[in-house]
Every structure is written in structure tokens, then in C-alpha cells.
């Protein structure tokens, strides 16, 4: 029963990822092929999401954008999770001055509210979307550092670690063979729950013009670019919005079922 609950979301996420990865080959039309003769056409059988001002097929654009939108969100999560976990394990396991210093540093990063730091720095990078990814990850890592440090501290004193130490394993070995496997579950759950949020935050930055910029196909910037068309050609604005909604939903469902799964375990 429990496995079933997580099976469907997992399949959905897997499909979404495969789809996003191969998206450039899956578009019914060439994404950048312009045809001003069919500018801003309403949805039809030929173009199920209509066309944008350049006469490009919106459906193809939305599909093509899934790659950057989804994978940059994944990049944010990976980046902050890996950085955070490495630092967290390091601090938790070694304790001492390094721990104190790094935890104070993470305190400082945690003191920046929400998107504020990302907003302030994302737009300053030369490459828009990369800047946004780095900005978001640099705000997000301390949460993972905190979490994994806490987890390490609570597993550190357990008997099997003690046993491993006695049997002569060195620190690195212990971290990789004993500690990491024990805490990775909870980290993954947290990370999965963060994917949806990161995707929305990236889209928000792009919407503000601080992330991806046209012509890079990215959902947030597509919505921004076509804002003023909401009244006259709503399909151009709404299509990427719906894509964000569906994708975030899938990741959220997946994250929650994963959490339930681990909690039950």
C-alpha cells in the first residue's frame, strides 16, 4: 500500500525528467522557427497552445522551456544540498572551531530573508539563469548544513559508529559507509520538497528579469515577456504559467509521498 502511494508520483517525476531531458527532440515544431504571417494565433488543432507574436508554436516553446526550467531548479537543489550536506557532516563529525565558525557563517546566511539576497545578486551576473541558480543556492545551503549536522550529531554517538571506530576505519570511511547512508533518506526528502519551490523562485526571478532572458526558453521569462498580451492573446501568457503549475504540482506530490514513505518507515 505504502509502496503504491509512492509509485505513481515516482513514475510521474521520472516521466517529467525524461521528457524535459529529451524535450528539444519532442517539440512538434521547430522552437525558434518564426513565421510572422501566423503571429498571435489562437489555439487550434495545428497549434494547440496557439502561437506567439513571432508566430512560433507555443506548445513547442513550452515543451522546450521545460528543460531549462526543470533542470535549473534541480541544479539549485543539488548545489545547495551537496554544499550544505558536505559542510554539515564535516561540522557535525569534527566539532571544534571549524564547526563553530562554519555554523556562524551559516547563521549569517540564514539571516537573509527568503528571496532577498537572490534578488539583490541574481541580476548582477553576466549569465542570467546561472546567476539566478547560484544566488538561490547560496541562500539555501545553510538549511542543509543545519539539518545534516543535526543528523550527524544524533548518529555520531550510536554504537555502530563506535564499533566502526574501534575496527580502525578512518574518518572519511566512517562518514561514507556509516553516517551518510543513515542520514541520506531525510536529506533526499527535504531536497525533493524543495524542487517545486526552487522552480517557482527561479521563475519568479526570471519574471523580474533577473534570471533567464529571452530568447532563452524559460517559463518565468516567457510569462514576463508576454505579460501585456494577457488581455488580447491570453494563451501566450497562460501556457507557461500552467506548465509551471503542473510541474511544481508533480514535484510537490512526489516530495510529500516520499516524506510520508520515510516517516512511516
Amino acid at each position: 500500500m505504502r509502496n503504491k502511494k509512492i509509485l505513481i508520483p515516482s513514475i510521474l517525476v521520472a516521466l517529467l525528467l525524461i521528457f524535459a531531458f529529451f524535450s528539444p527532440y519532442l517539440t512538434p515544431y521547430n522552437v525558434s522557427e518564426q513565421n510572422l504571417m501566423i503571429s498571435r494565433q489562437a489555439p487550434s488543432f495545428a497549434h494547440i497552445m496557439g502561437t506567439d507574436i513571432y508566430g512560433r508554436d507555443m506548445f513547442s516553446r513550452v515543451i522546450a522551456a521545460s528543460r531549462i526550467s526543470i533542470f535549473s531548479a534541480l541544479a539549485v537543489v543539488l548545489l545547495m544540498a551537496i554544499t550544505g550536506v558536505v559542510i554539515g557532516i564535516f561540522c557535525g563529525y569534527l566539532s571544534g572551531i571549524a564547526d563553530t565558525v562554519l555554523m556562524r557563517v551559516s547563521d549569517i546566511f540564514l539571516a537573509f530573508p527568503g528571496l532577498v539576497l537572490a534578488i539583490a545578486t541574481a541580476g548582477l551576473f553576466k549569465n542570467g539563469i546561472l546567476g539566478a541558480v547560484i544566488a538561490l543556492a547560496s541562500v539555501g545551503w545553510p538549511r542543509y548544513a543545519r539539518l545534516s549536522r543535526g543528523l550527524v550529531l544524533s548518529t555520531k554517538t550510536s554504537t555502530y559508529i563506535y564499533a566502526a571506530k574501534l575496527s580502525g576505519s578512518n574518518t572519511v570511511q566512517i562518514v561514507f559507509t556509516q553516517i551518510l547512508p543513515n542520514i541520506i533518506g531525510q536529506i533526499i526528502v527535504t531536497a525533493c520538497l524543495d524542487i517545486g519551490t526552487s522552480l517557482m523562485e527561479l521563475a519568479a526571478l526570471s519574471f523580474l528579469g533577473l534570471g533567464a532572458t529571452p530568447p532563452t526558453p524559460e517559463w518565468g521569462s516567457m510569462i514576463n515577456e508576454s505579460r501585456s498580451l494577457l488581455q488580447l492573446s491570453p494563451w501566450i501568457t497562460l501556457s507557461p504559467g500552467i506548465a509551471v503549475f503542473i510541474t511544481v504540482s508533480v514535484f510537490n506530490i512526489f516530495g510529500e509521498s516520499l516524506r510520508d514513505y520515510y516517516q512511516a518507515k
Binding site: S32, L36, S39, I53, K126, T213, P214, S226, R227, S228
Partner: protein
């Protein structure tokens, strides 16, 4: 109980802190409201504009600061000695007449019937005080005007320059030269007394309240109160006009015009000299070949860009200046000719991948632009498609950090930017800025000896007709050389409710409100 008391005190402290912060805001608020008191016969108008505010560097009405003079002149509070007419030619405004006594001396006679809104008469002494302050505090004016001395005698104002400066009278039409009463000066809110048909009753970074003057020198002004409101977001402007919160707007997004193309609204437009144009990077050896440059020029579908992507709200450009006589049409849109030219330069699609190649390498270029002007990313995408049609692969980088990108001359091949080419009726300005060997905005290091030579002549020529002739020659050379490709000119449109008359834009975007503005 004690516990609750403590909690309460925390809450109170919190509230007090919030309250303490919000007091200054409130007082500013009530001041704004008191200014809008209406009289019965006075009509009022709320004008939303995207071009007023701190972000545009034109907040306030002090002409001696940044670009605030533009606001002063646009909203009919201040006026300049000379004005640009609908052909971007200089005509006297506050000035009665002028003449160059010699190469370094300009004499201007000021009209005799003009009062500032403060009540003081505009004479040469008042003008002199104003110009002296301008030259002392403004960042651009001293370099533009090159004035060494100003003399005042009755209504006669005399400028003496450090070197021959035929463009001086053009700079007397630049809004920083607007005349204000320096005796009343600039108040804390950056309000001033000008000579225009309106005076400001309240000025802030986001709003200006104007009221018509009944002592205006140039005829009657309809009794009107105008609130100029900074609305930086295009869609908010659109919806504000639709919902009736705004009566007239400037700065609508292109996509919004169809909403107002009906009997309930007036759309008044004028082509301005703000040009959208490309600069090719001559550090890239490819562009040394004129065949390639002209191939690119002829591949660009300017009509499609203006008529479809901008919804017809623009003018196709064939040179730096709008309304050029006998536009040169040597490079009209022709992808086939472009392909021939590329072939002549040795580029053809030998591997059938859709892109032309030479020595096994595809023709691929980096196109740089910035999103600050919303037209530019659109232009970039349009050109990307145009150039793909002739087999050139274009990678677009649209970033506000384009100046940083450009520091590496290998990182870009074409720059698309926007610029007012003829701000003061002085065409020399555009060449000085962009296309001479030592121009500050000559991004692609374009260099043409003939053009440089003509520029030298132009800078010392006083006769207006000769100056025009020279500028024409220069622009022809520039267009013919294809180092610069001019795509379109911005069309300035003021959209208003039907009952508002006389809100007519001019090719120079210095002028928006005039005495002709009437609400019916």
C-alpha cells in the same frame, strides 16, 4: 496574568516601532491630497507615464540636475530659448531672434512679454543667472556648451564660447537650458518657477500636480489641473487607462494598442529620432568584408519587425535620422541578394546543415543586446530568424550587463542598441557619439577616414543649410558602409480618452503638454 502582561508589552513595543517608522509617510500623504482641491470650472486630468521618476533620472523639475529638465519641459512648466519643431528644426521660443556675432559669440534677444510663474519678468539678467547656475552644477551642460562668459543687457543675452561652437544654439533647446527663476530657486521638493503654461503645485519622485497659469505669455490656457503619475509598469498603465483611473498615458506596451484603437480613445503618434540600430564589431575580421556587412543589412526584415512585432507602432529606418529626404534604399530587404553576397564572400552551405560555412566552419555570430528597452530583445529574436534564413547562426545574449560583456571584444559581434540620434536638432551629435574613430559609443571600432574628415568640417560650420548638407553626406556614407545598420525609429504615442484634445506628441520627446491641451 503576569505572563500575559509581558506578552502584551512585547506586542506594544512592536507596534510602536512600526508606528514610529510610518509617521513621515503619513504627513507626506496628506500634503499630496490637499493639493488636488478642485474648483468648479477647472477640469482635471490624470496622466500616467512610464518616463517620469527616479529610475529615468528625471524626477523633480530642477533642470540643472540630471535629466529633470526633460520633465520640466515635457509637462509644460519650463520652456527653452529655442524649440524643435515637427521637423526637428530649431525655431525661436522664448528667444525673439539670434545671431552669431563671430565664431565665438552668440547673441540672443529674449521676448519682452514673458513672466515666470513667480511673477518676475524674464530678462537677460534672469536668464544669465539661470545659465550660470546650470554651468556651475550640471554634469553635461558645460562640456556641450563650451561657454566662457555670459553677458546680459536688457533683453539681450550674449554667450561667449571658448572655441567655435555652432551647436550652441541647439543646446539652448536641450531641456537643461530651460529658464527658471533663480531668485525663487529650487525648493526642497525640486519644484521651480518656469515660464510655461502650467505651474507645479506639488512635486514628488512619483507625482507632479500641475495647474494652468492664467498669466501665460503665449495666449490662453484652458483651466486645467493635471496630475502626472509615474507608472513604470506598462500593463498597469494599460489597465489604468481601461479602468478610467488614468485619462491619458505615455509608454503603453506595444501589445496594448489594439485595446484602444476604437472610438473611445485618441491615439496620437509621432516618429521620434530614437533609433534602434546595430553596430558591427570590426574587431571581428569577418566584418572587414563589405559583402558580408551588406548581406546582413539586406537580410533584416525591418517591415516585419515594425509592422508585426511592434504592431505598426514604429517607423522603418533607412538612416540614423527620421524623415530623411530621399531615403537611400540601396539595402532594402532581399534575402536572395544576401545569399548571393555571402556566396561572393566565399560562404555557402556545403554540408547542408542549414548554415553557410567556409573552411569547414559554420557562420556563427554573437548578438548582444539589453532588455532595458523592451524592443531590443524582440529585435534580436527577429534578426536571429532573419539571419538563419540566409544561413547565419545567431546566438543572442540579452543582458543589462552588456557593458561588462563587451569588455571582451571576442564575446560579441553585433550590438543592438537604442539611442536618440537627434536630440536637439544637431545631427553632428550622433556622429560624434557613435561613428567617428574616437567616439565614446563607437563600440565596434568602426573607422572611416572620410567620415572623420567631414565631421571636422561640420564642427566648425555655422550655416544651417550647409550643416544639413554635411550631415546628409555623412549619414549616406554611414548607411552605405553597413558598419551601422538602422532598423527602426521609435514612434511616440500618447493615448487618451476621447474628450482630451491637443495632447500631441512631437518628434522630439521633449514636449508633451502645451497650452493647446483641452479637456472637453
Amino acid at each position: 496574568m503576569k505572563k500575559q502582561m509581558k506578552l502584551l508589552s512585547v506586542a506594544i513595543i512592536g507596534t510602536l516601532l512600526l508606528g514610529a517608522c510610518s509617521t513621515p509617510q503619513k504627513s507626506a500623504q496628506s500634503k499630496d491630497e490637499s493639493a488636488v482641491s478642485k474648483e468648479d470650472s477647472v477640469k482635471s486630468l490624470v496622466y500616467g507615464t512610464s518616463s517620469y521618476g527616479v529610475g529615468m533620472s528625471d524626477a523633480g523639475l530642477n533642470p540643472h540636475e540630471d535629466y529633470s529638465g526633460w520633465s520640466l519641459v515635457r509637462y509644460g512648466v519650463g520652456e527653452t530659448l529655442f524649440k524643435l519643431n515637427d521637423k526637428l528644426e530649431l525655431t525661436p521660443w522664448l528667444a525673439d531672434s539670434y545671431k552669431f556675432i563671430d565664431d565665438n559669440t552668440l547673441e540672443v534677444k529674449i521676448k519682452d512679454n514673458i513672466n515666470f510663474s513667480s511673477g518676475r519678468k524674464l530678462d537677460a539678467t534672469a536668464a544669465k543667472e539661470c545659465f550660470e547656475d546650470l554651468l556651475a552644477v550640471h554634469d553635461r551642460a558645460p562640456k556641450d556648451m563650451k561657454i566662457s562668459e555670459i553677458k546680459a543687457d536688457g533683453q539681450t543675452l550674449t554667450f561667449i564660447t571658448t572655441e567655435p561652437n555652432p551647436a550652441l544654439i541647439n543646446f539652448l533647446a536641450e531641456p537643461y537650458s530651460a529658464l527658471i527663476d533663480m531668485k525663487t530657486g529650487v525648493d526642497a521638493n525640486k519644484n521651480v518657477s518656469g515660464t510655461g503654461p502650467y505651474k507645479a503645485t506639488s512635486v514628488s519622485d512619483t507625482e507632479i500636480d500641475l495647474t494652468s497659469r492664467d498669466d501665460y505669455w503665449d495666449g490662453n490656457v484652458a483651466k486645467t489641473n493635471i496630475k502626472v503619475k509615474s507608472v513604470t509598469d506598462g500593463d498597469t498603465l494599460t489597465m489604468g487607462l481601461q479602468s478610467g483611473e488614468l485619462d491619458a498615458v505615455y509608454g503603453l506596451p506595444y501589445a496594448s494598442y489594439p485595446l484602444f484603437e476604437n472610438d473611445n480613445y485618441n491615439i496620437n503618434s509621432a516618429a521620434t529620432s530614437r533609433a534602434f540600430f546595430l553596430q558591427l564589431n570590426f574587431d571581428n575580421d569577418l566584418f572587414q568584408d563589405k559583402n558580408i556587412r551588406s548581406a546582413i543589412a539586406m537580410a533584416i526584415d525591418k517591415d516585419g519587425f515594425v509592422n508585426v512585432l511592434l504592431g505598426g507602432h514604429g517607423k522603418v529606418a533607412n538612416g540614423p535620422f527620421p524623415m530623411q529626404d530621399g531615403d537611400s534604399l540601396n539595402y532594402s530587404f532581399s534575402p536572395d541578394k544576401s545569399k548571393e553576397l555571402l556566396g561572393a564572400a566565399g560562404w555557402s552551405d556545403s554540408d547542408n546543415d542549414g548554415y553557410v560555412d567556409k573552411d569547414g566552419k559554420n557562420f556563427e555570430i554573437n548578438f548582444l543586446t539589453y532588455p532595458g528597452r523592451s524592443e531590443l530583445p524582440v529585435l534580436a529574436q527577429s534578426i536571429q530568424s532573419n539571419l538563419k534564413d540566409i544561413g547565419i547562426k545567431v546566438n543572442i545574449n540579452s543582458t543589462e550587463n552588456y557593458l561588462e560583456v563587451m569588455k571582451d571584444s571576442k564575446a560579441w559581434d553585433i550590438l543592438a542598441s537604442a539611442m536618440v540620434t537627434n536630440p536637439t536638432g544637431n545631427k553632428e551629435y550622433f556622429f560624434d557619439m557613435t561613428s567617428l574613430s574616437d567616439s565614446p559609443k563607437n563600440r565596434g571600432h568602426y573607422s572611416n577616414a572620410e567620415l572623420d574628415e567631414l565631421a571636422k568640417t561640420l564642427s566648425t560650420t555655422f550655416d544651417p543649410d550647409k550643416r544639413d548638407e554635411l550631415a546628409k553626406q555623412m549619414s549616406d556614407i554611414l548607411v552605405d558602409d553597413c558598419g551601422f545598420i538602422f532598423v527602426s525609429h521609435l514612434q511616440m504615442s500618447l493615448v487618451s480618452k476621447k474628450n482630451i484634445k491637443g495632447l500631441t506628441p512631437m518628434p522630439s520627446d521633449y514636449y508633451e503638454f502645451s497650452k493647446d491641451l483641452v479637456i472637453e
